[in-house]
Amino acid sequence: MARSIVEISGHIIDSLILPKILDLIVNLGAEFEILDIQIGHRRADRSHARVQVEASSEELLAEVLAKIREHGALPVEGSDEPARLDAAPEDGIFPEAFYATTNLPTQVRVNGRWIEVEAPEMDCAIRVDGNAMRAETVPVHKVRKGDSIVVGPQGIKIVPLERSVPHELFEFMSSAVSTEQPKGLLIREIAETMKNVRQKNGKILVVAGPGLVHTGAAPYLVDLIERDYVQVLFAGNGLAVHDIETALYGTSLGVYLDKKLRASEGHEHHLWAINTIRKAGGIRQAVEQGIVQRGIFYSCVRKGVDFVLAGSIRDDGPLPDVITDSLKAQDLMREKVRGVSLALMMATTLHAIATGNLLPATVKTVCVDINPAVVTKLADRGTFQAIGLVTDVEPFLRELCQCLNQEPLQAHEP
């Protein structure tokens, strides 16, 4: 059981705010206990209640706390019980009843102090180094025999994401996915967020599927890369192959993008592109040798964008840059998401969800897909600050580039 204590103060009795919060706790599937309550005597007097919330899991507790906070219930400092630690019995094996992480900011109580868990990631364990007073998430394949791992829920504090100040679109949407939202406003605010991230020198991650090339949206992504709006790119073999095929032959899977005509022997372009890059030794080499002179990956090399290409079982080739060992790809992606403030996921199910699993909940995530299920799936995996846009990726990127080209709103200030 996970527990936390909240305080509710103000005119909470006459306004039925207290009963409303208690009902909310129960309706969300948790339980409460009123620890103490003081009721104001006169009309203007404030009342005050301390309530313990108890939930079956840390995730549910975090959800309940975030929900009731909107109605004025604020968390009180938790108990100071230390975290229980146990040694990993073997390489790649966690101790029994290890604490499974969420992607929310988390603190752990060690040697009488709360320390921040580094690199929040869901479905990992927490490894503690008591001497250095550091704690970090660790995926099961990386744990080593004897590592100190947190077991049980004691001494763990999850910090629910607030509706933060200053306001950002990402809090207010809070994982809403809809085909009915006004996209113009959303895209404009995404553009503003991208500008803000870059002004603060933050990193933007793009995760993209091959549909981006088929739909003719690649030039917009190139535009974003060229204007320093992309620092990291995750994709699979497909995106790279289609992009390079377009750079070499003007086709994507044999179809001319500008004429929507099938090239004769066009299906071979795809395989020739792979062969050409294999011969050159890789994408960077092909760009440096002047073989690839345009496109997404040409710009990535030119602008020094970090890209990770993760392989899959259906890949043709693959290109030499594709990492076919999933765990290695995952680890490299894990390394590259450090320091990312915004993730833009477009037209990809597999890579978007894989990346969503690795991201801390504090990273703002935009998921664009023509299929609502992908967008919902990502939100359901606990990507808290996710905005979903159900739309074709080409109009999305076109409008995003237009918004980024416009003068910022601040420019109107007298």
Binding site: G72, L185, L409
Partner: protein, 263 residues
């Protein structure tokens, strides 16, 4: 009674922060100016109210909706913490205006959103506050500490009625106009317990912003096109003045949104 207004010199639909707004459906600047002038004339000439003006600022199209600037109380001005970035830059202009007038400026903690009279209205001995869509409940509890009055908070549950003053209008200590679907069952129960005569407004007249009326003693100013509300109010002995405000409804505001009471 003193009211603060701001001319619609830079008014327009430049962003979309409530369901009424659509950049595809622009306001007509000339008509907006005419409608605002008529409202101002009505308040000054027919109701003999003292209207003060704050200078409009380029790039701040919603500054015309002065009701959201903050709350005045006993020579204090509690400045709004707007939820949306696009409106947040209005605050320093209102703050400077009230400081010049000799008001003590009060800031709420930055982490609590507060949108002034838009979400906080007095009725009888109590104040009624709307939260969740724009203002935060904890902001209102801070205001309650400052003004030492009871504030009853109501969750607003309908995005179309995003401020309390779009769905709730105190007419006197006993009478309140309100639009029931903007509240949840807890809110409705509290309203029924605290207000002797609750007058529900039908959907079509709520959408004409019948609840967004200016009340000055027995005089009430509202947008045109609310005949049923008008009839009810006249039966209760109020004088009702209608003036067209369609250009402002395009941004989700009407008469009350265009004025801030200086108390």
């Amino acid at each position: 009674m003193q009211l603060l207004m701001c001319a619609p010199s830079y008014y327009g639909i430049e962003y979309e922060i409530n369901p009424w707004m659509s950049r595809a459906r622009q306001s007509d600047p000339q008509r907006a100016q005419q409608q605002w002038n008529s409202l101002r004339r009505l308040l000054e000439e027919q109701l003999s109210l003292d209207v003060r003006l704050v200078d409009a600022q380029p790039g701040l199209p919603d500054m015309v909706f002065t009701a959201n600037a903050g709350l005045t109380w006993k020579n204090q001005f509690i400045v709004s913490n707007f939820r949306y970035e696009v409106r947040r830059r209005e605050a320093p202009h209102f703050e400077a205006w009230f400081r010049n007038l000799g008001f003590e400026i009060v800031h709420l903690p930055r982490e609590y959103y507060f949108e002034g009279e838009g979400d906080l209205l007095k009725c009888g001995e109590s104040w009624f506050a709307g939260y969740h869509i724009r203002s935060d409940i904890n902001a209102h509890q801070k205001v309650a500490e400052i003004i030492e009055q009871e504030i009853l908070s109501f969750e607003l549950t309908n995005e179309w009625f995003y401020h309390l003053d779009t769905c709730f209008c105190p007419l006197s200590d006993e009478h309140v106009l309100f639009y029931p679907p903007a509240f949840d069952s807890y809110g409705l129960e509290v309203l029924e317990k605290h207000i002797p005569d609750l007058i529900p407004v039908a959907a079509e007249e709520a959408a004409r912003f019948a609840c967004n009326a200016i009340v000055a003693d027995r005089d009430i100013v509202m947008n045109t096109g609310c005949p049923r509300v008008r009839e009810k109010l006249e039966a209760l002995g109020f004088r009702v003045f209608e003036t067209p405000l369609d250009e402002f409804i395009k941004a989700g505001g009407s008469a009350k949104c265009l004025v801030l009471s200086i108390m």
